[in-house]
């Protein structure tokens, strides 16, 4: 198609053919493969996987908002053992890296999942530290530097895979959290997870989502995500996977200009199932238009 080199090193020795990954929770290998060739992806990032099955939240779990959506799936998942036996083999048949997203309610939970996945052929782990810590009154691991750092320290000890830490944007200073997880050995950082949001049905006078609040995503949040990627790029040295409302190839370019090494497509793929491959094609078109031969050139091109 072109002479553009889309390959990217996202840390821990993990090199992707291209920077397009699927945001955790918005991608399912079997279902998405009915719409496009998964070999086109740089990496597939799975739904969050816990040590035991999680039932998730009651329905309704989804609300549409202006230019965005709120979800409260509650990380419903069948647990790590089921994932390894039934889901990983399907994902691994493609010539695409598989990054398993890890969820937990305690540090022990995270470590159990990481230990088990370390013995499989997953290519890397992405740890979702936005989960509430049940032992600390439900406060998110990702909102305090010491908590975030301690999760990374413990999973680093038991992990044999490249370790990506996914940050919560619901914090005062994202750079402090990023520095804390880098200091404890994160190979890469992905950001941002969803913003905490809420929608009320004014005709029924009640929250739309059964769990009242949920994760706000989509193009409406993109400026927040771009800003945070820009800030974190200037605070740490590890590679960054940027995400938050990427709908087009130009949106992907915006994140890379802000400092992202790779990007994830999330909400866009729920809207249009083929969004990841459409965005990849559009990114190439953008790079051709401005004469970028590789991603490093694009990343360094921000005029400020």
């Amino acid at each position: 198609m072109s002479k553009i080199d889309l390959s990217v090193n996202i840390g821990g020795g993990l090199i992707l053919d291209n920077p397009i990954t699927t945001a955790s929770g918005t991608f399912s290998p079997r279902e998405s493969s009915e719409f496009y060739d998964l070999n086109e992806l740089g990496a597939m990032i799975t739904k969050g996987i816990a040590n035991v099955p999680w039932e998730g939240n009651p329905t309704p779990r989804i609300a549409e908002t202006y230019g965005g959506m709120i979800n409260s799936v509650g990380l419903q998942n069948p647990g790590v053992d089921y994932f390894i036996e039934h889901e990983l083999p399907f994902a691994k048949q493609f010539n695409t890296k598989v990054i398993a997203n890890v969820a937990g309610r305690s540090i022990e939970d995270y470590c159990e999942v990481v230990e088990k996945l370390s013995e499989t052929d997953v290519d890397a782990l992405e740890v979702n530290i936005s989960c509430p810590n049940v032992k600390k009154g439900g406060i998110g691991f990702g909102v305090q530097c010491d908590l975030a750092g301690s999760v990374v320290k413990e999973v680093r000890r038991v992990s044999k895979k490249p370790l990506i830490i996914k940050l919560s944007p619901n914090v005062t200073d994202i750079t402090e959290i990023a520095k804390a997880v880098e200091a404890e050995g994160a190979d890469a950082i992905s950001l941002i997870n969803t913003l905490l949001g809420m929608k009320i049905d004014v005709h029924r006078m009640r929250p739309v989502i059964a769990n009242k609040m949920g994760g706000f995503s989509g193009p409406a949040i993109k400026p927040v995500a771009v800003r945070m990627v820009y800030q974190v790029r200037r605070a740490v040295n590890v590679p960054i996977i940027g995400l938050g409302g990427i709908m087009t190839g130009e949106d992907a370019a915006e994140f890379i200009l802000a400092g992202a090494d790779a990007i994830s497509v999330g909400t866009a793929a729920l809207v249009n199932p083929t969004a990841p491959v459409d965005i990849k094609r559009e990114l190439v078109e953008y790079m051709e238009r401005y004469g970028f031969k590789n991603l490093a050139e694009l990343r360094g091109a921000l005029n400020e």
Binding site: E31, F35, T59, R61, I62, E64, V73, L270, V271, P273
Partner: protein, 253 residues
């Protein structure tokens, strides 16, 4: 790559009852992919409304789909404004629809905007066909069902048309008994019908509705509980992908 997002053309879009519209879309791939009880995702043209709208398929032609939809919000309001000749983005057919059963007497039970998928289903059934359909005020699609050789019974909440009451009461009043039941409508109706069928020892397929995100099984937004032999006694299925049609006996109501 069995599924696609495609562009279709509006051939007809008219109000058939208050806040209920019938749209015919020419789109050959979508028509060829479709089976009774499935749905398509329709896309609005407004970028402020991201999510596609899942709309059940009312009738399948050789290169057309007929959709009968309720105007319930901004998205469906936009659809209702489309003119003949307009382009519309949609997916090919999604979900698992009804499975026509081998039975002497089929009873199709519909409630409101749950009636449309029963029309295409009726064309696929052999034997005697009875429809028992309920509405708040005014019925729709009853004449179309009659054209297809279905004996139709109408119930309305107000009693303005047909029987005053609900569809289960109407079946009992008329002593209607079938060998196999199919249903689509509001959950309380489906639950009552499933209990009715269980008491009579008759099988029923129900089409469930739940607020969807993606409509193709990626987001796990629309789940329902089905019975399972595990510790908790149920498992969660995706309405969009595993359903929307389930056996009434497998749903954990």
């Amino acid at each position: 790559m069995s599924k696609k997002v495609v562009l279709g053309k509006v051939l007809l879009n008219e109000m058939i009852e208050k806040d209920v519209y019938k749209m015919v879309i020419r789109q050959e791939e979508a028509a060829k992919s479709a089976a009774p009880g499935q749905f398509v995702n329709l896309y609005t043209k407004s970028e402020s409304m991201l999510l596609p709208r899942p709309i059940s398929i009312c009738e399948i032609g050789t290169d057309t789909l007929t959709l009968v939809y309720g105007v319930v919000g901004k998205g469906t309001k936009e659809f209702s404004s489309y003119n003949v000749g307009d382009a519309i983005k949609l997916t090919t057919a999604l979900g698992n629809g009804f499975t026509p059963a081998d039975a002497k007497v089929h009873i199709l039970v519909g409630g409101g905007i749950g009636v449309p998928p029963l029309v295409e289903l009726a064309k696929h059934l052999e034997g005697e066909k009875i429809a028992v359909i309920g509405f708040r005020e005014a019925p729709f699609l009853h004449e179309r069902l009659e054209e297809l050789g279905v004996k139709v019974y109408v119930a309305t909440d107000s009693g303005a048309h047909g029987f005053k009451g609900n569809v289960v009461e109407l079946m009992e009043e008329k002593g209607l008994v079938g060998d196999y039941y199919y249903s689509c409508g509001p959950k309380p109706m489906l639950r009552a019908l499933a209990a009715f069928c269980e008491a009579k020892g008759k099988p029923v397929q129900v089409s469930l509705e739940e607020r969807m995100g993606c409509g193709y099984g990626a987001c796990v937004g629309c789940v329902c509980k089905t019975k399972a032999a595990n510790e908790v006694g149920y498992e969660q299925k995706k309405v969009c992908k595993d359903g929307p049609v389930f056996l009434g006996s497998e749903v954990a109501w």
